[in-house]
């Protein structure tokens, strides 16, 4: 019952949020300088033709009307077509304005669906790496607050967070891939191409995990039930593993939800540097090529993903800690 209530409420809120985001981006793209019709029709068209096509495509209607039309399409699964990319997905430009092939453009949904799995793979691997780095350092630091493991956690955290991710990516690509030849770097031709980008991403996320872990573990170890448990004769190891860790994981979970926004920023840069064919590279190319429908589609998909992730995270958190009320 609680579950259903919770889901309904959150999903409704989520829908409102996604709607808001799409409207924002939609308006933005219509308002900034640079006529989207020009992009569809192409460089050499005379202005009269541009106006005519704009009327036909309904791009001169008031913004709310256009938005309503767009959203009704989205609900049915049609996110429109890319301005730039033809059905093959290539990046093209330079054709004449009355070029007939301009009408068969790629579906935004297809473009996103093709690239999203790659980004997902990258994100998951990065999370795994980050946890591998952060868990030992964070927990150990939390267990001994004020002593050197704690300071070590602080230094490492500050160090990692200060490394600009794009700089690290470039340097690693050069040193590890070109000079040492240990890992491949550019593009995607196998799972191994995910490793180097994931490392760079992990370096970016790990500091936050470390910091949250140290604080939360330290806090939990200071709670009275821990000291009582020691008196009861439970071994230190069991105290830490079975009790403290479980309770410390709640803020961590929360953090994982927030991390996704950070992850997205990092993913954009990392995929750009490593030419990794994921959602991030698609986004950057879409922006650089002024491909508005694609930008809109990605914005909707990502905010929907955020909302879902936050809902899932909150759900799991409530399961672990029934005191929480979402």
């Amino acid at each position: 019952m609680f579950l259903v209530n919770f889901l309904i409420r959150r999903l409704a809120q989520g829908a409102v949020i996604v709607l808001l985001v799409s409207f924002l981006i939609f308006t933005l793209l219509r308002v900034v300088p640079g006529d989207p019709v020009r992009l569809i029709v192409g460089g050499m068209a005379p202005d009269a033709l541009v106006e005519q096509i704009a009327e036909e495509m309904g791009l001169r209607d008031p913004i709310p009307v256009q938005f309503f039309r767009y959203m009704s399409g989205v609900v049915q699964g049609d996110m429109g077509q890319s301005f730039i990319r033809p059905a093959s997905g290539a990046a093209v430009g330079g054709a004449s304005f009355d070029d007939n092939t301009r009408s068969e453009r790629a579906n935004v949904l297809d473009l996103i669906a093709d690239t999203a799995p790659y980004t997902l793979q990258l994100a998951v691997l990065a999370m795994v790496f980050a946890l591998v780095i952060a868990l030992p350092i964070g927990i150990y630091g939390g267990l001994k607050p004020g002593k050197w493991p704690d300071r070590f956690a602080l230094y490492i955290g500050s160090l990692l967070i200060s490394l600009p991710n794009f700089w690290l990516g470039i340097v690693l690509a050069l040193v590890v891939s070109v000079n040492l030849g240990w890992l491949p770097a550019i593009g995607y031709q196998g799972f191994s191409y995910t490793i180097l980008p994931a490392i760079v991403l992990a370096v970016e996320i790990a500091p936050f995990l470390i910091r949250t872990l140290t604080v939360s573990v330290a806090q939990n170890m200071g709670e009275s039930y821990i000291s009582v448990a020691a008196i009861r004769g439970i071994s230190h190891r069991r105290i830490v593993m079975a009790h403290a860790l479980k309770n410390s994981s709640v803020p961590l979970l929360n953090l994982l939800g927030v991390q996704f926004s950070m992850l997205l920023g990092g993913v954009l840069v990392v995929e750009f540097i490593f030419d990794y064919p994921g959602l991030g590279l698609l986004t950057i190319n879409a922006v650089l090529q002024r491909d508005f429908p694609l930008i809109q589609g990605i914005a909707i998909v990502t905010s929907a993903a955020f909302v879902m992730i936050n809902i899932v995270v909150d759900l799991i958190a409530t399961t672990i800690d029934p005191r929480l009320d979402y």
Binding site: Q13, V16, I17, V18, L20, V21, L24, I25, L28, L29, V32, P33, G34, R151, L154, Y155, G157, S158, L159, I161, S162, L163, P164, N165, F166, W167, I170, V171, L174, V178, R211, V215, S261, L264, G265, L268, V269, F272, I273, T283, I284, V287, L288, R290, F292, I295, I298, A299, T302, S303, F306, V307, N310
Partner: protein, 305 residues
């Protein structure tokens, strides 16, 4: 009645408020990390302000003959006139890094100030008023938190030419929700306190209570931790610059110097590495300071200091 105000009035409260802020600052000062961070940071800031004024070298002067000179003691044909080498058009790296640092610091600080201003005002209003105002403002905050800011940023800056005010605005908008939330929870806790009720009874207007009583109390702890956000904003701006959406060339900023330097990494590694090191030092010092302040704040609020 006036006597009671002497005791519980704003003065005493302000004394206590200052003490909390002072306590946090003192706590941070005690740790070595903070002092190291502060020292490095102040040095870099002072250098970035004064060095370009003192030195005669123009960071934008193109001098092809001297292009791709390595830094001192590396490679061949290095020279003391360009201690950190030159870039692909012969411009001095040291000068460009300092000028870039100026822009980064300026943008970072301006952005954080906007974030603080907007966030704290929203949080203050929502926390104090409660009820409908609170719900509406918090929903807006939540919505903003759900927007993938990086996408918004690159969408805005990608389709219109990025100018410095636009960049500051976009970056600032990306961070204020967190401050609003924190401010709101702090204010909600504080507004139930005696001194606020006392002031209301005495006829103090809402605005007076919010700005003269609550704000000085709640703001400093939050502001301290904003130091970390300065670092975050500097990185964000560099990322935008790297993608070509930040401050435009030929104005040097870390992002676009490193982006240009990427092409030359194999032959002229210093073009990308030197700004990276500058950026790293700045960020590390800021992060050390911020982390120390955060820990100190946690300790103060946790009752241990």
């Amino acid at each position: 009645m006036p006597n009671t105000m002497e005791v519980i009035g704003p003065d005493a409260k302000e004394a206590r408020a200052r003490t909390i802020a002072q306590r946090i600052a003192l706590g941070a000062w005690r740790s070595i990390e903070f002092r190291i961070g502060l020292f490095v940071f102040t040095t870099m800031v002072l250098l970035s302000i004064f060095w370009p004024m003192v030195s005669a070298i123009d960071p934008m002067k193109i001098n092809i003959g001297a292009k791709l000179t390595p830094p001192v003691l590396f490679g061949e044909n290095w020279t003391w006139t360009h201690p950190l080498g030159t870039d692909q058009l012969g411009r001095d790296m040291l000068m460009r890094c300092f000028v870039g640092l100026r822009y980064s610091l300026f943008i970072g600080l301006a952005t954080v100030m906007i974030m603080l201003a907007v966030g704290c005002l929203v949080g203050l209003w929502a926390g104090y008023r409660g009820g409908l105002t609170d719900t509406i403002l918090m929903r807006i905050t939540d919505a903003q938190l759900s927007i993938p800011m990086i996408i918004l940023a690159i969408a805005i800056l990608g389709v219109s030419r990025p100018t410095i005010p636009a960049i500051i605005l976009v970056l600032g908008l990306s961070g204020w929700p967190v401050y609003a939330r924190v401010m709101r929870s702090v204010v909600m806790a504080e507004r139930k306190r005696e001194f606020v009720r006392g002031a209301t009874i005495l006829g103090a207007s809402d605005l007076r209570i919010m700005f003269l009583l609550l704000l000085p109390l709640c703001l400093p702890p939050i502001a301290f931790v904003a130091v970390l956000d300065v670092a975050r904003m500097i990185i964000f701006e560099s990322v935008l610059g790297f993608l070509g959406l930040g401050v435009q060339p030929p104005t040097p900023t870390f992002g676009n110097i490193i982006a240009d330097g990427r092409k030359y990494l194999v032959n002229a590694w210093w073009i990308a590495t030197v700004p990276g090191i500058f950026l790293f030092l700045t960020l590390a010092s800021l992060n050390l300071m911020g982390a120390a302040l955060e820990r100190s704040r946690n300790r103060v609020y946790g009752g241990k200091a």
